[in-house]
Amino acid sequence: MVKIILKDIPDLAKVDVYTKNGGYEMLKKCVTEMKPDDVIAEVKKSNLRGRGGACFPTGMKWSFMPKGNEKPKYLVCNGDESEPGSFKDREIFEKNPHQFIEGALIACYAMGCKAAYVYIRGEYWKWINIMEEAVADTYKKGFAGKKLFGSDFSVDIYVHKGAGAYICGEESSMLNSLEGKRAYPRVKPPFPAAVGVWGMPTTVNNIETLANVPEIIRHGGEWFSKIGEPKHPGTLLYGVSGHVNKPGVYEIETGIPLKSLIDDYCGGVKNGKQIKMVIPGGSSMPPLTREEALTVKMDAESLKAIESAIGTAGVIVMDEDTDLIKVLKRITKFYYHESCGQCTPCREGCGWMLRVLDRLDKGEGRIEDLDLLINVAENIEGNTICALGDAAAWPVKWTIRKFRAEFEAKCKNDKYQLPVLNKVHSIRHTPAYDNIRIYNENNVVEDLIGKVQENLNREDETFS
């Protein structure tokens, strides 16, 4: 069993223990013995793919950065970790912060970055403190700062504290947040490698991605490329939560059967129950049915083959008694809350989906609502600035497709319900609006105004 990041060494988080175990030697090796391009070549050879959700090949991403030093270049380390079901980067901050820092500094050397900014979500107060101390220790030991190891390479590393917004995890919005603006995602292109933070070439990488780098340099890219599944090599920090006996973060090779992860590592489903649904990689990823969960392997390609994705490897297990409508409603409420509001399909669509799901949850939905939900989801997907739109659409579309019977069982057809409105301008666009007029000719106006007023009054309590 290979462990690349969460090694079983006591107190590895302390800089002295880390250096005693070969820590920062690889940074020294890169800076004093290797050319930046050799470092990138080694990472390319390893076939390391991003652990932030999109699985983009890291070496290739690094090679997109312009060469030369006319402009300052930056590395931004994505420690926003806000995808529901993901809690792995926190484990790295706590157990092995210096390996991540070393990886970030090696990345800076490879791309010629002047500084690395470690963006950590504001809620991680404890882990921000740990990281600030770790960074201070790194400077004290002379592994960051001016002219490292007597070379010409200087680099700085800073911790930046977020303040509670899921969207900051999206890379371009993270850049706006770092610039001190509202964290709106940017339209791409230009990509960050061309125009990033403060207008300068920037690369954004996840914490776990960077934490792998020192070991890739130590053992070679080829070694890494042979661990786990060849097309998505290495280990993953699987964060398992929900109805399992031993939830937690487990570092295991890619390609492990999901069934083995749940049964052998997490002690099986609680109370000996059966699985109903599993979300394989954080709440945005299309869910798996019991049959799929029992046979699929946990790596990017295997999940892609069944139209899901590995995402952040945050596995959420739900047993046979779970009410999927409640789960889907809660997930949709999250995206509704976190949508930044720039794009109409995402801003309005999430609200529509939530209102319809709320109606279904109350047992007041109609069979047509299921197609309406899929229709709204499909109109969000691919029509927005950032991938939060897709993230909101996928769970709705796929949960209904895969578990339609359960949704239908909760629908009834005899009674027509007024939609609950949350924004004044939604009235005209509510697809059911025309029907209301037919069904409820006389008091429709009062009803609508009443509803709108009511909802304006209770803003955030609407869907609790």
Partner: protein, 170 residues
């Protein structure tokens, strides 16, 4: 009741921290988040005066500061209780009873989401996933400490302890 709100002002020592933050970034504007954090840590929330003061420090219009402060949920735009209880009700927590926990605390304290108890000791907030999914259900207090693997019993005890502590400090 007329309550006078303290005018924000950083001490010399605090100004050193401000300058440390300014040194981290190539533009002044970038220091807005850390400075809002400093103000909130000192005064408990971000009043209009606080935000104007942050704007003055960074040469930014109040409107910009307000825009940033309102984008992020962790900056309080109104005073919260001495102990602000943030309970996660997102999926993983919900599967382990996080939503029931929120309801329980809300009923026990007699306040709704984002409200403060009349004695000013507690306020509650329903929050999104805080990265404690494996130790659910969970609660964060005052944007800081995490309390994990909660049960109704140990929440009862926690609330009692906090109430005692608040009483002891006047």
């Amino acid at each position: 009741m007329t309550e006078t709100i303290e005018k924000p002002l950083f001490s010399e020592e605090e100004m050193k921290t401000v300058n440390m933050h300014l040194d981290k970034y190539p533009t002044k504007m970038s220091a807005i988040m850390p400075i809002l954090w400093m103000l909130q840590d000192k005064y408990g929330w971000l009043s209009e005066d606080n935000m104007k003061y942050a704007g003055d420090l960074l040469n930014l219009p109040y409107e910009h500061v307000l825009g940033v402060a309102t984008f992020y949920t962790m900056y309080f735009k109104k005073p919260m209780g001495k102990y602000h209880l943030q309970i996660c009700t997102n999926v993983s927590c919900m599967l382990c009873g996080g939503d029931k926990l929120f309801q329980y605390v809300s009923e026990k304290l007699g306040i709704k989401n984002n409200h403060v108890t009349p004695d000013g000791i507690f306020s509650i907030e329903e929050v999104e996933c805080l990265g404690s999914c494996g130790t659910a259900p969970m609660m964060q207090i005052n944007n800081k400490e995490f309390y994990e693997n909660l049960t109704l019993e140990n929440v009862d005890k926690l609330l009692n302890d906090l109430r005692m502590k608040a009483g002891a400090n006047g």
